[in-house]
Subunit: 306 residues, 2 copies
């Protein structure tokens, strides 16, 4: 990492007693006492695939690079603890210098990291003649609580989703709030039988959950919560808001299953302040169906990341 | 990650009981019982900066991306436990398909990971129109043993180095063996007062160790172990083998300090089967000097990674 950036980060990042060795040595060393597990995820985003550097404030890009990783920890029901960041910076960014770009990316990450009590423990900074890419690896722990996995759904469970779906391209794919608190509560209180986050679109991600749980789903299409952005986008695309909610990528909401009793309570009360909606039922078999098995079959379309 | 690649990796990677949840869920979950700390490092390499994809077997590139991270764990004295890998793959690689390239990169990593009992716990695979980049994040633990840091050297300590230095560009920057066992032994047996790995060149990295330890070093230039590759390279560059040993990057040997008694024993016996050479003495003050403080001052030149 460049000395100027290390200096800047050292003066910006709030010291955390859990970070025993931080920036400036060969590796970071975190206190991991009283934790029996390590949950790890890594996600990389790049210019012209996941964002357009010429158009977007680098702070929003930096924020997104962290938020998508926190969303994966959320999908496991893990507490977020720390991240490391690798930057691959263009030597001639569209605005400002390479160092300014790096600084702005971190300025976008730091408030989100603080919001989720997540230590930025270190990183690697490189410049090259190619476009911007950011790789973040996040660490958490489930501790005593069972991790949320995709494979635990049972026939008769209801299918649930946090928040609203669709239209993330209008801005929420940068500014969404990762559902870390919601996932953690699902795990701690043993509420979900299976869970994942929606990154590639409801239908496509649901098909993955169904495959791991070896089940089919019957969707209650009118119940699916469509976002205001999905409606706004539908005005220009000729699709319906529901179609956007079914297939748009990067909602980063939680998709999960629960017993009917638990589902009823979550729908009534929400979870950690976030709305929960029941959108279908899990049954034996395979595929995603509208109304009933053997009725209209929905293809697992979605936004496939390159 | 692409389904074909997940399938290939699932059938290739040896199951490890410590990996409780692996490829195919939102994050990996590792058993971390009986470990009190988490050592984390991340290092990214990219085409045309760290290697030339048109010229080099992707297996060597994949191996390097892992080896440089293991070297950072070695520099902390940590046991290597697991890694995650983010690939940014060109849509049109110079040879074969994108999937073949990804597979070959992993084929280069897997034997090295097995050699160091390191789990490949997951990753993210992306393709784009830019060049190849590989980001690896490695996790380990020091456990009961104190971590090796750069700041612990004392006046009167000797400066030591494993192996031979210089000329890595001729091949060893791909094929070097990360000094994980050596670093671990330094840590477990409390042999080193400070340590780091040499990634940017002896003089430049030494200057960093000296800064963190707030000391000067007097180098015994004739004692510095120059590699056969440094001699071979000197034939064409007009520099001396010693100049290559002092300033070439990517040796990935360990540079460390120890009391004179410990140093004498390590020089006589080696460590974990690797030769150790004493190359200087730590003294109060600042700077790197040949022969004595106030004599010839050596500038901390080296190979600065972009």
């Amino acid at each position: 990492m460049e000395p100027e950036l290390i200096q800047h980060l050292r003066s910006t990042l709030v010291g955390n007693p859990r970070l025993r060795i931080g920036l400036g040595d060969d590796a970071a060393l975190l206190d991991w006492r009283d934790r029996d597990d390590l949950v790890v995820t890594t996600d990389l985003i790049s210019d012209q695939v996941d964002f357009l550097l010429v158009e977007v404030d680098p702070r929003r890009i930096g924020r997104k690079s962290l938020a998508i990783n926190l969303s994966d920890l959320a999908a496991m029901g893990a507490e977020s603890i720390a991240v490391v960041v690798s930057l691959l910076l263009p030597r001639n960014p569209p605005h400002g210098t390479t160092l300014q770009l790096a600084t702005q990316l971190y300025e976008g990450m730091i408030p989100l990291a603080e919001q989720f009590d997540c230590i930025i423990a270190g990183g690697d900074t490189n410049s090259w003649n190619g476009p911007l890419a950011i790789s973040v690896t996040a660490f958490g722990a489930c501790g005593e609580a069972p991790p949320l996995v995709r494979s635990g759904a049972k026939p008769g469970d209801l299918l649930l989703v946090t928040g609203q779906l669709g239209g993330s391209i209008l801005g929420s794919h940068f500014d969404f709030t990762p559902r870390v608190h919601e996932g953690r509560k699902l795990s701690l209180d043993r509420l979900a039988t299976a869970a994942m986050d929606i990154s590639d679109g409801l239908l496509l991600d649901l098909s993955r959950l169904l495959k791991e749980s070896d089940l089919a789903a019957i969707l209650d299409l009118p119940a699916i919560p469509t976002s205001a952005a999905a409606a706004q986008l539908a005005d220009t695309t000729g699709k319906t808001p529901l179609e956007h909610a079914l297939a748009d990528g990067e909602d980063f909401e939680l998709l999960f299953t629960a017993s009917p009793e638990t589902a009823a309570r979550l729908v009534a009360e929400g979870i950690a302040g976030t709305a929960v909606t029941a959108i279908g039922t899990l049954v034996a078999g395979e595929g995603i169906w509208a109304d009933h098995v053997g009725g209209r079959r929905l293809q697992p379309q979605g936004f496939l990341h390159a």
